[in-house]
């Protein structure tokens, strides 16, 4: 059963089309990576899916309703979003930030959720640190923990929800990138649907069972990593000539880029 239906979605700002006739469905528990070059419309797609902006035309249905049709509070129990950059101007502690994911709820159950989420992102023992004093990667992991708490609360209320990630690994070191992938897999195993914008094609292949390729606001490819991440797609969409191989055991593609080509129109 699909939890998310996107049909003929277009977003225009002035005369510029950011998204143009995009359609796809996502089933519950699927992990989807969205890839594409800068300006392809990835972030716009995520903003539409999260309910932040309304489509110019076409429909998005999340749990059978347009995101805008939900009250923000109800929507927050059904989808959680991890943005690329979150700046916190006031000296909140790590625990205070993570607890924010739980909304108005307080108490032992929430503390346990926060504890588990911090452990999952390898930040146990950071509770009382002021978030501004942490490194960029650590801050990103704190926000991931906050989003996990929000997901857990939503799961209690309405069952597994939708997790939207905007370049979640951008500021993480290699080990924590893989940690994040495995946390995303655990979420998916419990039924959470995961959609992530990923720039690193190798990580996209590793994380997702399905890859959506966007190019100039249009859907360029949609399918399993082995079908979508190949040298012709990489050449056409990114303008990069590369060697694409398969990892021996997992059968997951990996990309070794070696030269930028002139983009074919």
């Amino acid at each position: 059963m699909s939890v998310l239906k996107v049909q003929n979605l277009s977003v225009k700002v002035g005369a510029k089309r950011l998204l143009d006739g995009v359609s796809f469905c996502v089933a519950q528990g699927e992990t989807v990576a969205v890839i594409g070059p800068n300006g392809a419309g990835k972030s716009t797609l995520l903003r539409v899916l999260s309910g932040e902006i309304a489509p110019s035309s076409g429909t998005v249905l999340l749990g059978g309703r347009a995101p805008q049709a939900w009250q923000p509070r109800e929507l927050a129990l059904r989808r959680a979003v991890l943005s690329q950059h979150v700046t916190v101007t006031f000296p909140f502690t790590v625990l205070e930030i993570v607890r924010m994911g739980a909304g108005d709820r307080r108490g032992k159950a929430i503390d346990a959720m926060a504890e588990a989420a911090l452990a999952a992102v390898d930040l146990s023992g950071f509770h009382d640190r002021i978030i501004g004093t942490l490194s960029g990667g650590e801050q990103q992991r704190v926000h991931f923990a906050r989003v996990m708490v929000q997901l857990a609360c939503g799961e209690e209320a309405h069952g597994p929800g939708l997790l939207l990630l905007d370049e979640p690994t951008a500021s993480l070191d290699l080990r924590h990138q893989l940690d994040l992938v495995s946390v995303a897999h655990q979420c998916a195993a419990r039924g959470t649907t995961v959609i992530a914008i990923v720039h690193d094609l190798n990580l996209a292949a590793l994380m997702a069972e399905r890859v959506i390729v966007l190019s100039n606001g249009r859907l360029a490819a949609d399918g399993a990593p082995s079908q979508t991440i190949d040298d012709s797609t990489v050449a056409q969409v990114f303008g990069v000539s590369s060697a694409v191989g398969l990892m021996p055991q997992a059968g997951v593609p990996f990309v070794l880029p070696h030269r930028a080509e002139r983009l074919r129109a």
């Binding site: 009250q71 509070r73 927050a76 000296p91």
Partner: protein, 362 residues
């Protein structure tokens, strides 16, 4: 190995135990007790000195032998209403500053900064000069004209700002802040123009307004301004969490279930009403709105659910203390309260900034 380490909590540095108590259950009892002490001190101090031991009698709480009619008059119709006004205005200024800082995600935002206070002051100055000309110097300006003008001025300024910063359903906080700076400058120019054309008496009235004063407090004024404090206190639980989440950014607040546009509108109306009420009754009193929340964030952290009510109480404490000083330092003359808060507040604020800079290692 201690229990704390085993249970996974990192040990806090020394001295933070006290901070923990202040942050926790002791915060409001300590603040309220301090307020009570300052109130008692303010009751006993003043130009018409009434020693502490005569106060219970004057209030009719003790053997009335020691009481004098003069004591009672001074206390009930001069000093107590003034104390009440100081408490209310201090609370309004500090809380509206805290709300504005949360809304703008900027610890330096203040209603005085974006012209909300200046708009009120401009309207008051206009009322003084133009109203005086219209009545052709024949009658004094009716009592209610100035506060109403100041309140209206603050509301109109905020409405203009809101309009400038809004496009469709969304309000740009950056435009609001920058347009506010322009409007503050414009209001300042307007006041300058009025000062230029004013005669000596009007000039004194305008100056009095610009410097701020709690003089002339009556129970009538208290009953007019008290509702604003009550509305604010009632609103705190509804906007506290929203302001906390807004700290992460408007998108994040929305992602976590906050109706962001509604929150911004409510916050802006509250700021306008509270600042307008404060300017209407006390003129321009600066720095309370910046210093109080700043100080509290250091001790209790930035969470708005505690910060807003705590700011209100600490604002009340500080303004009452400042006003008591203002009317005793040079008694029987009074130092303008706005001058005093700026004199104490501005250097204090600089110290806070330098301290933060030290902490951040900049």
């Amino acid at each position: 190995m201690s229990d704390a380490v085993i249970s996974g909590t990192i040990p806090r540095p020394a001295g933070s135990r006290l901070r923990g108590l202040l942050k926790g259950p002791l915060l409001f009892p300590i603040l309220l007790a301090t307020l009570l002490i300052v109130v008692i001190a303010a009751t006993a101090v003043g130009g018409a000195g009434i020693p502490l031991e005569r106060i219970p009698a004057a209030l009719g709480l003790a053997d009335p032998v020691a009481m004098t009619e003069r004591d009672r008059l001074v206390l009930l119709s001069v000093r107590l209403p003034r104390i009440a006004i100081a408490i209310i205005i201090g609370a309004l200024l500090a809380a509206s500053g805290a709300i504005m800082q949360g809304l703008f995600r900027n610890p330096l935002a203040d209603p005085a900064l974006v012209g909300v206070s200046s708009g009120g002051a401009l309207a008051a100055a206009s009322a003084i000069v133009i109203g005086d000309r219209m009545t052709a110097h024949t009658a004094p300006l009716p009592f209610a004209v100035l506060p109403v003008a100041a309140f209206g001025g603050s509301l109109v300024t905020t409405a203009i700002l809101q309009r400038l910063a809004s496009r469709g359903r969304t309000t740009s906080i950056a435009i609001f802040l920058l347009a506010g700076l322009a409007i503050a400058a414009l209001a300042g120019a307007g006041i300058g123009l009025l000062v230029f054309v004013a005669d000596d008496r009007q000039l004194r009235d305008i100056t009095f307004w610009m410097l701020g004063s709690l003089g002339g407090a009556t129970w009538e004024k208290v009953s007019l301004i008290a509702p604003f404090l009550l509305v604010m206190l009632a609103a705190v639980p509804f906007i506290g969490r929203g302001l906390d989440l807004l700290v992460l950014g408007e998108s994040e607040a929305f992602h976590m279930g906050i109706a962001v546009e509604r929150l911004k509108r409510v916050a802006i109306v509250l700021i306008a009403a509270m600042t307008g009420a404060a300017v209407a009754f006390a003129g321009v009193v600066g720095f309370v709105g910046i210093v109080v929340p700043h100080l509290l964030r250091i001790v209790i952290g930035p969470g708005h659910r505690k910060l807003l009510p705590a700011s209100a109480i600490l604002g009340a404490i500080l303004l009452l203390a400042a006003d008591t000083a203002a009317r005793t330092i040079a008694a029987p003359a009074e130092v303008p309260i706005g001058v005093l808060t700026a004199l104490v507040g501005a250097p204090f604020f600089l110290v806070l900034l330098l301290r933060q800079r030290g902490l951040a290692g900049l």
